[in-house]
């Protein structure tokens, strides 16, 4: 490879990265579950793939539907509807899997459809989990205001953990 060209390409890539670094913490991937808009911070999203054949696994909570083999990586899939105690729905051609990498372990979220990547600065996010009655940490980290709409921003660490999230949804539903 021509080294000068390579170096230039590397510099260019670096520049792009710096631009992204500035606001990547404010970038959210938004998706639909039922009528609600949800968002996860983009830095934990590794890829988005179409629905594929799920293989069942024993001894996991009901909302873990099984695993997929993504190019040799075994990824457990969480049905977000079941995780939030929403009615189950048959997967269709818009159903997608958002693959997250949280704490070194992968997790795929099955959602109704992905919407878009949005920049939501901290100033436009209302924190929801500081109410005095709410002693448990909520899986909802905040509500992002985007024009007229609201995106429910999720705490990815709590989302993929085993803890019960029913309360959080009741608060926001």
């Amino acid at each position: 490879m021509n080294e000068a060209v390579a170096r230039e390409a590397a510099n260019e890539a670096d520049e792009v990265r710096t631009v992204e670094d500035d606001n990547i913490d404010d970038m959210y991937l938004t998706f639909k579950v039922g009528d609600e808009d949800y968002g996860v911070v983009i830095s934990v999203v590794t890829e988005i793939v179409g629905m594929q054949r799920i293989m069942g696994i024993p001894d996991v909570p009901a909302y873990i539907k099984g695993v997929i083999n993504l190019r040799g990586k075994v990824i457990p899939l969480m049905d977000v509807r079941l995780r939030f105690n929403m009615p189950e729905r048959e997967y269709d051609e818009r159903t997608v899997v958002i693959v997250l990498d949280v704490g070194e372990a992968p997790m795929g979220l099955i959602v109704d459809r992905v919407s878009e990547v949005l920049e939501i600065p901290a100033s436009q996010i209302d924190r929801t989990n500081n109410g005095p009655a709410n002693s448990r940490r909520s899986v909802v980290s905040g509500l992002g205001r985007i024009d007229e709409r609201v995106a429910i921003l999720l705490d990815e660490n709590l989302l993929v953990s085993d803890s019960d999230v029913s309360l959080a949804v009741e608060v926001d539903a």
């Binding site: 490879m1 293989m55 069942g56 696994i57 024993p58 001894d59 996991v60 873990i64 695993v67 997929i68 083999n69 040799g72 990586k73 075994v74 457990p76 969480m78 949280v102 704490g103 070194e104 372990a105 992968p106 997790m107 993929v160 085993d162």
Partner: protein, 403 residues
């Protein structure tokens, strides 16, 4: 781009050794694993079904054979002799002699046995604990030994041997042996057995490896705090190994660690139960049986437990639906199923499945994140078809659902 070669080329002899970083070997192993999967995926592609492809089949067969050989060669790259660990342990013996006031003769056997470098790196700590246990609790003091007509110098044998696809590492002492009465008393205090329960000696021997269990009344600097055994258990679990203990009162104790030679690939039988796939290491299987209805007994007095007669003896049936506490309203009768009979240290168990599919060298993946709590499993197996199967651990299945 150029990377510095890590290989010293100044010794061009045929048998020259190379130093290669373990990262490079790991990368190669990963790639070989992926290669093997892709080849299987290609060869077993559903689009080829029903086609007459004579020369393709022959070429595919040859390709699979070569991949198998590459896999073996890659596995071989990572094998080292256990002597490295044994030598480090030998150095500790002098310290143990000083701390216990006993004189110890350490005999090493089978130091040239080959083992996965990843395994060998993990063996030192657990083996040190087993050795310390033998030196501290197993061997008697010189006076007691003399009184019992033994050599004043205690003997500990540290041996290794390959048995099938397993390496067996033995720590044997010629000490006082396990005191079953004292172990049982202690185990009852800890609530491991009921007051009237009389466990088999083999079961009782294994109790000494229960977390937090230690019968030594005097906690010494070396051992007796029950912590070392936790390290041993944890490491053995991660290495997919088993521990067996054999002891004769007054004669000594043998502790054996059974560890797979390689961690990367595993020779498995692939099974289907309902919509799920399972894999079982070939070495754990005693036999595969299609039960006849006259050989099956259901015991209502024992909440419907099922037993299967196998060559005159009854074997406990362990349904995975029961083990995993799942919906069992729709179980198929055993006479319609195939049962896999596992060999375990507490006897045989029969696990019924719908279908036996194949025998394969599978690539193992650890269960992490949301899958970390799946019980009685060694990990996930990636199959040639691209499917994923849960690799079952018969030992923990036989111990029942309580985790």
């Amino acid at each position: 781009m150029s990377t510095e070669p890590e290989v010293a080329t100044d010794a061009p002899q045929a048998s020259a050794l190379m130093r290669v970083s373990s990262d490079k070997i790991s990368r190669l192993m990963d790639l070989v694993g992926e290669l093997s999967l892709s080849v299987s995926e290609t060869v077993n592609s559903p689009e080829l079904q029903g086609l007459e492809l004579n020369s393709f089949d022959a070429a595919a067969h040859r390709l699979s054979m070569i991949v198998r050989e590459v896999q073996d060669a890659a596995t071989d790259l990572r094998l080292v002799s256990v002597d490295e660990v044994f030598k480090r342990l030998r150095r500790m013996i002098r310290e143990m002699e000083r701390e216990t006031g006993k004189s110890i003769n350490l005999v090493i056997e089978g130091g040239d046995t080959a083992i996965d470098k990843l395994v060998s790196d993990r063996l030192y700590d657990p083996l040190l604990h087993v050795l310390r246990n033998a030196a501290d609790h197993g061997l008697e003091g010189p006076e007691e030994r003399e009184a019992n007509g033994k050599n004043r110098k205690g003997r500990i044998t540290l041996g290794a041997a390959q048995v099938g696809s397993e390496v067996r590492i033995m720590v044997s002492d010629d000490g006082r042996g396990l005191n079953h009465e004292r172990i049982l008393k202690k185990a009852r205090e800890k609530g491991l057995f009921g007051p009237d329960e009389v466990p088999e000696p083999a079961v009782l021997n294994k109790v000494i490896f229960e977390p937090g269990f230690s019968t030594a009344e005097n906690v010494s600097k070396l051992s007796g705090r029950g912590v070392g055994m936790d390290v041993l258990n944890q490491t053995m679990k991660e290495l997919r190994g088993r521990i067996t203990v054999d002891s004769a009162e007054g004669k000594g104790t043998d502790v054996a660690l059974h560890i797979p030679v390689s961690l990367a690939f595993l020779d498995c039988i692939i099974l289907r139960l309902g919509s799920r796939m399972f894999a079982i290491p070939v070495d754990d299987i005693a036999e595969i049986v299609k039960p006849n209805s006259q050989d099956l007994v259901e015991i209502s007095a024992d909440s419907g437990a099922e037993m299967m007669r196998l060559r005159g003896a009854f074997v406990r049936v362990c349904r995975l639906e029961h083990f995993y506490e799942e919906d069992d309203s729709d179980l198929r009768p055993l006479s319609d199923m195939v049962t896999i009979v596992f060999k375990t240290t507490t006897g045989q168990i029969a696990v019924p499945v719908d279908e036996v599919l194949d025998r394969q060298q599978v690539v193992m993946k650890p269960m992490v994140g949301a899958l970390a709590n799946v019980r009685a499993s060694w990990g996930c197996a990636l199959l040639g078809t691209g499917e994923v199967a849960v690799v079952l651990d018969g030992e923990r299945l036989s111990q029942g659902g309580a985790s």
